[in-house]
Symmetry: C2
Subunit: 246 residues, 2 copies
């Protein structure tokens, strides 16, 4: 449990906040091993003085790293580097982006893109008047040349204009984001069932094969629903990974 007199270069002319510059540099040193697991930081008052920051600003940097699971603080004891365990702090992410990042070369077939009156459960969940016209979207997502998932989505028409071309090149979340729609929160339900004949054929599986299912409703920054997804994944090729904190 070594101590470490930390020195961090800060650029006060940068638009990047000082607490964030500080946090990022500390994160880099922890992940690179320069600050090994078990290292104890100097106390906040001394460290703030050394870095030329006020204590609240330093505390904000430390808080950021505590939230991300890289440091632990104990009152009366001190602040210590811990083994980072977070895969990712469970962000609102899109399958398309995840596959891109994993180098899986996603491809999308648009099976249906229509504007139709919303069925009752959908209009209720989207908080629209009954039978309001909405986008109904069916896609088949491929990765590495094989089908991975059937994606069904329902969206109000007023938030974005969708075309088949843009849906082939990009994930739905990215399209929404670039249209200025902010997705802030989503409720998901993950379950499993076995494949029927039709979807088995679409997904190159046998009837009775295990499938992962995910229903999701996404909400924007003021809590209005912006999208419903009802997706089906081949269990043989897909799992959900998540990190919980408590």
């Amino acid at each position: 449990m070594s101590q470490s007199p930390l020195s961090i270069p800060l650029d006060r002319s940068s638009p990047v906040p000082l607490y964030f510059q500080c946090a990022q540099e500390m994160e880099r040193r922890i992940l690179s091993g320069e600050l090994p697991v078990g290292t104890r930081l100097e106390n906040e008052v001394v460290l703030a003085g050394r870095l030329g920051l006020s204590r609240p600003t330093l505390r904000r940097a430390i808080e950021y790293l505590v939230d991300r699971g890289l440091l632990v603080r104990k009152r009366g004891v001190g602040t210590q580097v811990v083994q980072p365990r977070v895969r990712r702090p469970l962000e609102l992410s899109s399958l398309y982006d995840d596959l891109c990042q994993a180098g899986q070369q996603p491809r999308t077939e648009v099976r249906k893109l229509a504007v139709e009156p919303a069925p009752d459960p959908i209009s209720v969940a989207l908080e629209l008047a009954p039978a309001t016209e909405i986008y109904v979207l069916h896609r088949l997502r491929f990765a590495g040349g094989e089908p991975l998932a059937l994606l069904h989505n329902y969206l109000p028409t007023h938030i974005v204009e969708l075309t088949e071309t843009m849906l082939m090149d990009r994930g739905l979340y990215e399209i929404l984001r670039s249209a200025g729609v902010t997705m802030k929160i989503a409720n998901q339900t993950i379950g499993a069932r076995t494949a029927g004949q039709a979807e088995a054929e679409e997904l190159w599986e046998e009837a009775g094969a295990p499938l992962l299912t995910m229903q999701r409703t996404s909400y924007n920054d003021v809590g209005r629903p912006v999208e419903i997804g009802s997706h089906t994944y081949r269990a043989s090729r897909y799992t959900f990974e998540l990190t919980l904190t408590g």
Copy 2:
């Protein structure tokens, strides 16, 4: 979008921090509807003055509610009440506690409780020397009189002493917590498969029935692994619900 001159009673002699008293009272008013969705708070300087708090303290209260998805802040614009959408901010929770809360009367059958040398993948994941002795625990969890899940767990022996009796009455997480073990973070992988003959019988399903699977490694506050779980749920009776934020 009404404005609201907020007045909150604060007890400065209480050990509960002022920012938290403030946040909890605001949360109560939002959830009770006294502060309806869309309400705009006064600006931070004025509100801090009205409440008799410094602005940083008020900001800390607001931050807490922003994190929980009850308020949104926009620079240059203001702070506004939003529709709460969080089922729960995805905590590290135990199946046993969840079932209790849902009034499902969980029951546990302990199928195996043994101390055995750890197989290689387990000792690696628990960061123990090869073949270190560990607890191997198999349980069958019932809810509402029917089997719900097969629970397999692996734990180092030095962190807690387990007996069959205590495992029948309580969830594993509660036992660990009351033994002073803090679970801080967990990585989970959720997947699906179909049931084999043996587990189908244990779970009162047919062979080939869909099952949800969850592998989990839990870590304590300094990032040491404390438990591995490998669980199998009846897809007909169980789903994972979670709330994502971004």
